[in-house]
Symmetry: C2
Subunit: 391 residues, 2 copies
Amino acid sequence: MNWKKLSSSETLLAEKFKKLKLESGSHSPSIFTFLQELPELKIHIDACFLSNPYATELFLNYLNDEVLSTGKIRDLLEFYPSQNRVLAALLSDFLKVDSGNIFIGNGAIEIIQAVLHRFASKKLLINIPTFSSYYEFVPDGCEVVFNKLKKENNYEINCSELIDKIYTEKPDTIVIINPNNPNGAYLNFGELEMLLDSCSKVENVILDESFIHFAYEDKNFNLINTAGLVHKYPNIIIVKSMSKDFGIAGVRAGYAVMDKEKVDLLLMNGFLWNSNGFAEYFFRLYTRADFAYKYENVRLKYIMETIDFMKNLREIAEIKLYSSKANFAMIEMLDGTTADELMSYLLIKHGIYVRNCSDKIGLDGEFLRVASRNKEQNQLIVSAIREFYQT
Amino acid sequence: MNWKKLSSSETLLAEKFKKLKLESGSHSPSIFTFLQELPELKIHIDACFLSNPYATELFLNYLNDEVLSTGKIRDLLEFYPSQNRVLAALLSDFLKVDSGNIFIGNGAIEIIQAVLHRFASKKLLINIPTFSSYYEFVPDGCEVVFNKLKKENNYEINCSELIDKIYTEKPDTIVIINPNNPNGAYLNFGELEMLLDSCSKVENVILDESFIHFAYEDKNFNLINTAGLVHKYPNIIIVKSMSKDFGIAGVRAGYAVMDKEKVDLLLMNGFLWNSNGFAEYFFRLYTRADFAYKYENVRLKYIMETIDFMKNLREIAEIKLYSSKANFAMIEMLDGTTADELMSYLLIKHGIYVRNCSDKIGLDGEFLRVASRNKEQNQLIVSAIREFYQT
């Protein structure tokens, strides 16, 4: 392959990278895998990685003061974490739902797996493009039906079309990611309730809110908490990753809110110590007012910088930016540039790693997903994309 | 209830403790739960907890030098861990089996759950007494049959009796824990092979070796590695917790060795990022020669101290010590003392927390399980039990 705007040695590296990526399946290899397999590759900005870097710093500051410098780290490493129900009880007050409605996961990915394996039995309806685990983790014997979001509608969910599809297909389980991954399209609370009103015959409505902390419906960017919907819609299963908003993917922390009977079914024969010492420390921190106050500051700071970042990306004429209320932007190359070309240029020339969406089913065209990082890095990303089109 | 040798205020605390223990189901509450719910209780020695404390120190030393003091901790917390197959590849050389035979778990408990849910379909044969998760995690529709180990045989597995039971019951899955929990009884390699030779028609032979690092068959206490058995017995599923031997239960690390087809089935629709940053660091460390050398020292030191500990316990006339090659001893009270009484005395008077085996099915009498801790703590445990019988 001839890579646009790369020298032959750079092209070789781009090819090696592509091979490694292909071998790793539908999810990007971790940064550790890259460092091991391609030591010549220098990644300065991981814009494939969807997390708030300021929240990571906040968590590290707390961890440093309370765990590392006090010697309490030994407790976190040596002893078993608390069991699932104990951690659920911690979150109850904070989420304003009963602890019996809460299930703790080793990251949202474990919850997705648990919920699909246990509850999705006959037919699963998924909007595409989407996070691939939702169809990859489908259990044997369960049919997958796609609701293909339309390019002319910017890959946003059209509620009445989705409702029609539900009436026609009669799935037992549907998945709504809000904001959606990879494009960040957002259903507001009113649309969501309308949709849920029409889903009363669906046994499981999985609402994945892993990016909800970056979304907003008012000018103050108030945090949206939909946990209480479980009282009105007992078929809802709200899945929440903590990796993105708190910048702690390595800790593995997530939770779900669902009907008590479903939580009981999951805990009846599994998920005993599926957390870990650091995740338990995080969950305890998450429910503390002092942490919540400081977190709110870094959440708002990051949202505002992300809005700026998207504004700057939107000004580049050769790409189309899709409207997003998540912490990433899906961009489409309009001038014949392939996703591989722009991705490789950014990676090899600038050490900027962005997500090639070529393996995403349901997209028609050449797309990259670019995460918002810190202010300085966001500027470097914008400059590098501009440079690609100017040289 | 009138607790032997406790004052009325001590009795009240013992009752509160008992209530908390009952509420937590068949597994002991974590130390964090105790600290939160019963702040008046002081636990100085957690002899319920089955781990090598010297190994915890060794891991902490490495972590301190390589992760905490270098700032690399941010990487472990912020980024996704490597995927299951990447970590499996790390362990391949070390275990001398192909990486395709290795499955990485978020602790052995996740592996037990995964294997039972995916592979145990009709009938599960379990030796009792045992680790309760093996029957608690059984999937819907799968019958559980117990092979009741005999008291007159010291609750050790009698291979020919077990083989008879397998021929009669025709289970699709059997579980052998070696050394067994809660008594530490050990099948040597010759007995194990004989047993496996007779199990060729059993689809899944789960061999739980979570305590194998504390067992020995020769005078040099050489480490036993049975991973290679998977080549001779494709139905074997070796389950290995790292929590006990490496003293890192809070990290959540375990692995299994099994037929490649079974690993593929597990990974086909799940278990993508079921590790965490600290577990990945541990797995990388585990395969390093420098760490292995130092670990071998603390393993031998702990085994020798555990042998001394058991020798001292055996000298107490009022209790019977069951022969154990694990890092814990099951003791039986022979003088009419109940497990509750001795456990509460040790806890309230000395802050020594031991495992009451009253909830273990398959035991006939009053039993406690006492973990070996460090040398000084082991001496305190022996003295406290002596004191109970002397006052």
